[in-house]
């Protein structure tokens, strides 16, 4: 079957891979700012302050606004491996405290000042490897954002009363998660798939831990992990890069680097047999199934192939599992995600099982398809082309606007050490062959590497 070649425009990506290599060999300071043109046509400037703070600025002058993101290389896995903490949930709890006042900015003022000056989508998220803070603002307020963000990087004050009040909000978030069977299932999936690595612990932690975190623990966490040498700033939007770099030097240059507390987490042992667990939930109206396969870390050479395989299986109406599960009447829906992390991650698939059908029927149908994909005798070139184009479409959609572009690039700051990896990843996915997909399916999507979680009505 002949498919139109829609990929020619991506050939420029190939230059990015060599660029990443070149950057890795250069020790940057703000006096050695590197400038390059991204595959989407926008110029990017990068540098590093002497205190270790990394900076990436992508110029986009389409509208008089910018997105500002601060990425800290600390997430829920780090608190568990830190012998002084050995806890779960503090990284997330602390993220809340970053909005509750500094030596210079009293509680509530951070939000109030940004809001009055036109902030859009101001928030923060905590994940396994990192914590990020972000806001979008009108261009004229770049200095204001730097002033406020640099202040909370260096001067947070942990007030006991505010800590206790915020504890209530975090417990509210915890309660919300418990009412959501999808969230409960996801936590159980990670807890079962990982036996040793701290990715197995829930980001929000346990109710008991949330209730007991102390002011001293929060202060230790802040002092140890919120330092310029553990952070990266990504700005996307209508900014003058020279002016922005000078503001960064002015406001962040005085932030002191700290000895960091990261410990190497234990290596997850290879899974040798399928694991299966189930749970009951009062909100479930029909069974739910979640499946995970162990995959390598984000920068592993097999990951672009696995992304295409993920797209083949679950992206779009024409995906394999949409056909064999949803349209065969076995499930209501299907979704999947390649969870790319700094350490080995997961290839996940989930679905709501149609009433009258058993989760095992879905597994049988999927296994049959995985065998077909891996079989050298079967031609899967059409499916690979479809998946590749669906993947590219999702990439192009994410380039529409500062926030989504920053989101597309930002996660790779943590998992790969540079946001440029996002583009490298796309250029590599462009070249994936059907044989590579077959090999990846045979290597990773096997029963002995699988964890299954099944949710049932209570």
């Amino acid at each position: 079957m002949v498919y139109p070649n829609v990929l020619m425009s991506l050939s420029v990506f190939s230059s990015v891979a060599s660029l990443i290599g070149a950057m890795a060999m250069t020790t940057m300071t703000t006096s050695t700012v590197t400038t390059t043109t991204l595959p989407n046509g926008l110029p990017m400037h990068s540098g590093k302050l002497p205190n270790g703070l990394q900076i990436y600025i992508v110029e986009n002058h389409n509208a008089p606004v910018f997105t500002f993101q601060t990425w800290f290389r600390v997430g829920s896995k780090d608190e568990k491996t830190d012998p002084k903490l050995n806890a779960t949930g503090l990284a997330h709890f602390f993220e809340h405290m970053m909005f509750r006042g500094t030596k210079n900015t009293p509680d509530g003022e951070f939000d109030r000042i940004l809001t009055r000056n036109g902030v859009s989508n101001e928030n923060a998220t905590t994940w396994l490897d990192r914590t990020n803070y972000f806001e979008s603002m009108p261009s004229k307020h770049l200095e204001l954002v730097m002033q406020l963000e640099s202040d909370r990087m260096a001067n947070i004050v942990i007030d006991q009363k505010l800590l206790d009040t915020e504890r209530g909000a975090v417990l509210g978030e915890y309660a919300m998660g418990k009412d959501d069977p999808g969230n409960v299932a996801s936590e159980l999936l990670f807890e079962t798939a990982y036996t040793l690595h701290p990715y197995r612990y829930s980001v929000i932690g346990t109710e008991q831990e949330i209730k007991r975190f102390s002011k001293e623990e929060a202060e230790y966490f802040y002092r140890t992990y919120y330092a310029p040498n553990n952070a990266t700033i990504l700005i996307v939007g209508d900014v003058d890069p020279v002016h922005a770099m000078s503001l960064i030097t002015k406001y962040y240059g005085t932030c002191r680097p700290q000895p960091l507390g990261h410990q190497r987490p234990p290596v997850e042992p290879a899974q040798t047999a399928m694991r299966s667990v189930s749970f009951e939930h009062a909100q479930l109206e029909q069974p739910k199934i979640l499946i995970a396969y162990h995959v390598p870390e984000a920068t592993h050479q097999d990951m672009p192939t696995l992304m295409i395989l993920q797209s083949m299986l679950t992206s779009g109406e024409g995906s394999i599992l949409s056909s064999k599960w949803v349209n065969a009447g076995l499930s209501v829906n299907v979704s999947g995600e390649l969870v790319m992390l700094k350490d080995p991650g997961l290839f996940t698939i989930s679905a709501e099982v149609r009433k009258g059908h058993a989760p095992d029927e879905l597994l049988t149908a999927m296994d049959s398809e995985l065998l077909r994909i891996a079989d050298a005798a079967n031609d899967i070139s059409g499916e690979v082309m479809r998946a590749r184009n669906q993947f590219l479409l999702s990439v192009y959609k994410s380039w529409d606007g500062n926030e989504s572009l920053a989101g597309f690039m930002g996660e790779y700051i943590i998992t790969a050490g540079t946001p440029l990896y996002a583009f490298y990843f796309v250029s590599t996915a462009e070249k994936i062959t059907p044989d590579a997909v077959k090999a990846a399916a045979a290597k990773y999507l096997v029963q002995s590497n699988r964890t299954v979680v099944i949710g049932k009505s209570k």
């Binding site: 606004v65 509210g172 309660a175 909100q283 109406e317 479809r386 192009y396 529409d400």
Partner: protein, 441 residues
């Protein structure tokens, strides 16, 4: 007939109405085909028909069965999905830009010659019924459906736009065909597009795609006024909940209403932002809930009809007895006393600065232009918005809030343990009744 043409933007009211914008940097094209018939056009005995028709159209044409159609769309880097609202049905397509023309030919075929194959429709009905069940897993949906069921009792506006299991079962192939024949006509459609192509080129492709449809007539319908009488509370009985989702709903205004901007300023202070009163009191000061919001589109989205204004929060179950009355008290105080001078000034500054984010991408600008054509607020540049906003005074805003948002007729809907919630809701001032209602798919 050209009604607006500014730079790289074009719109026309000649059927089908077109809205087109160019962005030369885009690598994909986005297309919206909007049919001005939604769930309000469902027959009384077939709630969910409009949604079923639209989704069935994506499951095969007269020349391509479902697998072939899907392959044709997705292999060229395209995607096409559909959403049904009360007043409209929206097909949203995206495609890698170089395949725009091929994609539009497929869209044309889908719009003009759907197969409505028996087996495919039967499969789809099973999927939709499963989705209706899945929705019931969300505590927020339970409270929302209870609020709508009370506010629009006896009217199809109370239904989910996906309909009901019984309605989906009742819809025969003949009903799908008839609905499609009458509503998928040029006069009842609006097509919008943003792409890297020059406007005339995009217009040509859109016109060619829609030319195969008959002219037909417009079928625009409106959400009726709610049928609320006094302050009524309803409970969806649900055990083992960690949170208590709560809606407080009252009659609102239409998106294009002359008072909407004043109400937006007021709502910004009350519950539209992280610094608003609701979040500040219920979360920041007391830690009772993770979220608390208010707005005009929380219960349903409207294009030109009157909305319901609502407050939504989901306190931890252990804090519900304190959070629910407090939420109502905050609402009462906001409506009766309005905004302080400082709150008003802060809201005006915030909205002025924030408006740039409503129009900072081609897709967002397209959405606003489409909303205007459908009866919503006029599209405004940042300068036009500022001029209008600066014309508002605090007293105007407070007067509009008091005049347009009345607490005489209110629905309070919560999901959780009735034994705990009933005495709490009975104590809310002026509540005439607290009933337990059943929400079913």
């Amino acid at each position: 007939m050209i009604t607006a043409a500014t730079g790289n933007t074009f719109s026309t009211s000649a059927a089908p109405a077109l809205v087109i914008e160019q962005d030369a940097l885009m690598k994909n094209a986005v297309v919206q085909v909007i049919v001005r018939s939604g769930s309000l056009s469902d027959p009384d005995d077939m709630p969910g028909l409009a949604n079923l028709v639209a989704r069935a159209m994506l499951r095969g044409t007269q020349t391509k069965n479902y697998p072939r159609l899907t392959e044709a769309v997705e292999s060229i880097g395209g995607s096409l999905e559909v959403r049904t609202d009360r007043e409209i049905t929206v097909f949203t397509g995206s495609v890698i830009a170089v395949n725009f023309n091929a994609f539009m030919m497929l869209v044309s075929e889908i719009m003009s010659a759907p197969a409505f194959d028996d087996d495919e429709v039967a499969t789809l009905k099973g999927i939709v019924k499963g989705e209706l069940l899945t929705r019931m897993q969300q505590p927020k949906i339970l409270a929302a459906m209870a609020a709508l069921g009370t506010a629009f009792a006896g009217h199809k506006a109370a239904n989910a736009t996906q309909g009901t299991v019984a309605g989906v079962d009742a819809a025969g192939i003949w009903a799908l065909r008839a609905f499609h024949r009458e509503r998928y006509v040029r006069s009842n459609m609006l097509v919008a597009c943003v792409s890297p192509y020059a406007v005339p080129e995009a217009e040509k492709a859109l016109r060619a795609a829609m030319s195969v449809l008959p002219p037909g007539t417009l079928d625009a319908r409106s959400v009726p006024a709610p049928v609320m009488t006094g302050r009524r509370a309803v409970i969806v009985e649900k055990q083992d909940m960690s949170t208590t989702p709560l809606f407080i709903a009252l009659p609102g205004v239409a998106p294009g209403d002359k008072d909407m901007m004043a109400l937006e300023v007021g709502n910004f202070v009350f519950g539209a932002d992280f610094t608003s009163r609701l979040i500040r009191v219920l979360r920041v000061e007391n830690g009772w809930t993770y979220g608390a919001y208010s707005g005009f589109e929380q219960l349903y989205r409207s294009q030109s009809s009157q909305t319901l204004f609502s407050l939504y929060t989901y306190p931890s179950a252990v804090h519900a007895a304190r959070a629910l009355p407090k939420a109502f008290e905050l609402l009462e105080a906001w409506i009766s006393k309005g905004l302080s001078e400082d709150e008003f000034a802060a809201a005006r500054d915030a909205l002025s600065g924030r408006y740039a984010f409503n129009i900072d991408t081609p897709s967002k600008r397209l959405d606003l232009r489409v909303a205007e054509v459908l009866g919503g607020a006029p599209f405004m540049t940042a300068r036009q918005y500022d001029v209008k906003l600066s014309g508002l005074a605090r007293n105007d805003v407070n007067a509009v809030i008091e005049k347009r948002l009345k607490l005489e007729n209110v629905v309070i809907a919560a999901a959780g343990d009735g034994a705990v919630l009933k005495p709490v809701l009975e104590k809310i001032p002026g509540v005439l009744s607290v009933d337990t209602v059943v929400v079913s798919p």
